[in-house]
């Protein structure tokens, strides 16, 4: 597949970590990379679905942290001035219970994105990038 390379970088190989505030667990997080050769504006993300151990995570539980700010999945399409640099990780924060240290979890991410310069003869190309990895919790 032509986009095999980019699919594989979507979910970072780095471990899952719990999010803690003064020692209290309030969720967990892992890292995403934009699945392309170049960076983009967040507004080009048309869909972002996260499944952990085959469970779809509801969007209000998710914080998408990039460039020093945390936004909601539902806001991405409007953030046309927020650039996701190709070698920067976005941190995907899932609020709620933490995960047990030492366990492994299946992380599945689907990211649908518009390629903003491809309107050669009309519509823009829209790509689905998908990546599934089993990550450790440390």
């Amino acid at each position: 597949m032509a986009f095999e390379l980019f699919n594989r970088i979507l979910v970072s190989d780095e471990d899952i970590t719990n999010i803690t505030v003064e020692g209290i667990e309030i969720g967990y997080e892992f890292k995403l990379q934009y699945p392309s050769y170049r960076g983009t504006f967040l507004s080009c993300i048309e869909k972002l679905e996260i499944r952990i151990d085959n469970q779809l995570i509801e969007t209000p539980r998710i914080g998408f942290y990039i460039n020093g700010k945390e936004v909601l999945i539902n806001e991405l399409a409007e953030l046309f001035r927020e650039y996701w640099f190709i070698t920067d990780f976005a941190v995907l924060r899932i609020y709620g219970e933490g995960l047990e240290i030492g366990t492994k979890h299946k992380v599945e991410v689907l990211l649908r994105h518009r390629i903003p310069y491809t309107g050669y003869f009309g519509n823009y190309m829209v790509e689905d990038a998908a990546c599934t990895k089993v990550l450790n919790v440390i």
Binding site: L5, T87, P116, G119, Y124
Partner: protein, 320 residues
Amino acid sequence: MAGKVKLGISLFSLTPLFVTRQWDLERCLKEVHEMGYEGIEVVAAQMVPNYPYPSDEWIQDFKGLLKKYELTLVTWSAYIDMGIRADRDLTEEEIIQYTRNDMIYAKKAGAQMVRTQHAISPKIYKRMLPFCKEIGVKLVIEMHSPHHPEVDVWKEYLEIMRDPASEGYFGVVPDFGIFQFTPHKIAIDSYLEGGCRKEALDKIIMEHESGRSLEEIINAGDYTEYEKGVIADIKHKFSAPAKVGDLAKLLSCTPYIHGKFHYLEKNCEDSTIPYGELMESIKNSGFEGYIACEYEGHRFDIDPKEQINRFAIMIDKMLK
């Protein structure tokens, strides 16, 4: 390197190594220098931290690295990201701002030209001329597949570029992908992985190259639905390549060329783009700019370093 044609490279060629963090920008510069490349193109949206607004510190560091590795920054590659917004295309005002911004940072980084895209529109392109002259930066438009010289908007662009008023500031960057007439190895591998039978694909490609139409190819064999899709894809993508003869017509307003390829064999040849004939045309034209290696066959299992080395060997041989 013979004559005045110089060997450049778009660092985009190193995408697999860069996006997986195996090579950082400095490593990219070091390696291409060691392979004999003299000029580089940087795709700003790919390699410039804090793009579209890089820091002055980064610019200074970058210039230091260019000096260290004896590289000329030929081209700052910009996009017309017309579809950034979900609700509408960019406005004229926005396109001008993004373009001006790229030109400013390109100038700061010492680039000779900014590559932009056809979506800038002839109207806005003309409006940028005073700013090009003011800061002394060329603004050039890439002619990229599926476009070719016969596309209407390109007839307009070429007229603007040939106007003496824009001389030295405007121009076209032909991407050799416009001359590709048959599927490259990456597409072939993808078709095979998708379920196309090897012998069926060989037959399809042979018949495509011999000029048969979509219907003729489909009717001349017993193909699966997937294979019929492959035939359609090949005919859709590779049926209307630009003619080699078109290049000569572009070269008078061409300051820079994208030597696009997806795979070079061990013998350093491309069987899908007529590089030999294209390079003859370039040599005969008196073209004096850079031809940039633009390797795009990015997969995990192919070494981009080997590919760009083969490109340098291929071009060197042809220019002798």
